[in-house]
């Protein structure tokens, strides 16, 4: 290989990597539509086009519109395959008619490689209610984020083969059961959008909480979640809940560096070093929240973003507007009753109205949330503040047994130690 060949190869690889990063989902979405909803055939066609680019670009130069070139070549591959396929014969003929011509035409071809509607089709299909929630998460990461089965398996600490099977099965169900590749109608949107929002939030949470321990080689799912939420808000710029989701994830993500201390211990919100919060992300989230709130319709993600924003924009913990936070929790509970939200509300009540009111709000949650460690942390908190250390210790010990990871255990252990210090005069 000559030096200039090597340079051409490097340039081609770099361009391809950039297209793969930025345009892959859009290209794939357009191809899935052309393939009549067949994810696997669309993926094969796209990967053929990438391979073709790697052999052709170094020699003939990188086309002016690399993404359009890939879309055209992939569509042609799809058509060639489809001609042999009874089910997609009509679609194939149509594509073939569109794309007759030689390679010189292809090089500068500008075709519609899938506008926003294809992106939305892809997202809504990956999050279809006939797929299991964990399948929606995996498929969204695969088809929209472009992560392969091995990377997703590492992120979720599951067997790679099982993940590959899950993805294959999902794609075949979409094809064989006739899950349509379409955007829900306006009437259906209210029912279908929450599934998409929750799927993206699950992706983010998986990365943010990393509840299953260390995994350095795994993809950063928090970043992936933000990227997905950003894409969704770009596709649905007038949908307050899509803006609310992105705002919520940005507010949460902004605290990433302050969330764990040097020993990897969980740092509670009031104790976090606010100078470590990412001011840029908070600013962006605040702007999104404002735009979402302008519609006057506050759905669950807008309300949760507003709650998170109250913390993010308080200058310090003591400046937190707790009565406003309790009011936001009340609004959230009115549209989406949830014991976990009621638990968070109880903690806010403790800040707004004192430990007595907090303990009262916590009573009645025990039955549903008895196995949630945070309930017992909150009870321990309230009891300690009311000067009932023995009961506080019992509650925290219960929390310790229910903690799900090392960071949570460390955190509870720290509070137990602090309780010991407080009651035995520094003996713990």
């Amino acid at each position: 290989m000559t030096e200039s060949d090597a340079t051409g190869m490097d340039a081609a690889s770099a361009t391809l990597a950039a297209v793969a990063r930025e345009d892959r989902a859009r290209l794939l979405a357009g191809l899935i539509r052309r393939a009549g909803g067949d994810f696997e055939r669309a993926e094969d066609a796209l990967s053929d086009a990438f391979t073709a680019a790697l052999t052709r670009w170094p020699e003939h130069g990188i086309p002016r519109e690399p993404a359009a070139w890939l879309a055209t070549v992939a569509a042609r591959r799809l058509a060639e395959g489809a001609r042999r396929d009874v089910r997609a014969r009509d679609a194939a003929d149509e594509v073939a008619r569109d794309e007759e011509g030689d390679d010189d035409v292809v090089r500068d071809a500008r075709i519609d490689f899938g506008g926003d509607d294809d992106g939305l089709r892809l997202v809504f299909t990956c999050c279809h209610p006939a797929l299991a929630p964990e399948t929606r998460v995996a498929l969204t990461l695969n088809a929209v984020s472009g992560l392969d089965a091995a990377a997703i398996a590492r992120a979720f600490v599951v067997d790679e083969r099982a993940m590959a099977q899950r993805l294959t099965r999902a794609k075949r169900k979409i094809r064989d059961a006739g899950i349509p590749f379409r955007v829900p109608s306006f009437e259906e949107l209210g029912e279908r959008l929450p599934d998409v929002l929750k799927t993206i939030e699950l992706v983010f949470n998986e990365g943010h909480t990393a509840a299953r321990g260390e995994r350095l080689d795994a993809p950063d799912l928090a970043d992936e979640g933000v990227r997905l939420a950003r894409a969704l808000s770009g596709l649905l710029p007038d949908e307050p809940e899509a803006l609310g989701l992105l705002a919520l994830l940005l507010f949460t993500d902004a605290r990433r560096r302050a969330r764990l201390d040097e020993e990897g211990e969980l740092v509670r919100l009031p104790d976090q070093d606010r100078s470590l919060w990412d001011a840029g992300k908070i600013r962006e989230a605040s702007g999104l929240l404002e735009a979402a709130a302008a519609s006057g319709l506050a759905g669950p993600f807008v309300l949760r973003a507003a709650l998170s924003g109250e913390h993010s924009t308080a200058l310090d913990a003591s400046a937190t507007r707790w009565p406003r936070i309790v009011a936001l929790y009340d609004a959230l509970l009115a549209i989406e009753p949830s014991q976990v939200v009621a638990l968070n509300r109880a903690v806010a009540v403790g800040e707004a109205s004192g430990a007595e009111a907090m303990l009262e709000a916590l009573d009645g949650l025990e039955e549903a949330l008895g196995s949630v460690h945070y309930l017992h942390v909150a009870r321990g908190d309230a009891l300690a503040r009311l000067g009932r250390p023995a009961e506080a210790r019992a509650a925290l010990e219960r929390a310790l047994g229910l903690a799900r990871n090392e960071a949570e255990r460390q955190h509870v252990a720290g509070r137990l130690a602090a309780l010991g210090d407080g009651t035995t005069g520094g003996g713990g």
């Binding site: 009874v86 299991a132 064989d176 059961a177 006739g178």
Partner: protein, 131 residues
């Protein structure tokens, strides 16, 4: 009288059949189909896609839930069926939601395996010309 003859098999067993074994099975089905037809006894029938493609629909307390997968409750029994034409799974699910028993039991929505799709093979493993 009409009767529904329900065919229960383990998909894992079906999948483990060799091409010639599958070919023989298909020939036997062809023969049986012809016999039913010849006797004027055939009212309808179809092969279903595997349970992997199933979606179960139920409604409790006014809330619809969809489950990815087949109906798996053993204390409920198959009590009836509708064969419908629908453009997509979404349309089929909309019909399933209207079946009155959706409040009491479960409606499993399973696609029919279209015959032209079927990989019918003969005992020697070659593709069947009339498939």
């Amino acid at each position: 009288m009409q009767y529904l003859l329900m065919i229960y098999t383990a998909e894992s067993v079906d999948d483990s059949l060799s091409a010639p074994e599958m070919g023989r099975l298909m020939e036997n089905y062809d023969r049986f189909h012809g016999e039913l037809e010849g006797a004027g006894a055939l009212a309808g029938g179809a092969r279903l896609r595997p349970v992997d493609t199933a979606t179960s629909v139920r409604r409790r307390d006014g809330e619809f839930t969809l489950t990815d997968g087949p109906f798996a409750e053993t204390k409920e029994q198959l009590g009836g069926y509708y064969l419908i034409e629908a453009a997509s799974l979404d349309e089929a699910i909309e019909w399933a939601k209207k079946i009155p028993s959706v409040d009491l039991g479960t409606i499993e929505v399973r696609p029919i395996w279209p015959m032209e799709d079927d990989q019918l093979v003969t005992t020697d493993g070659s593709e069947r010309a009339d498939a």
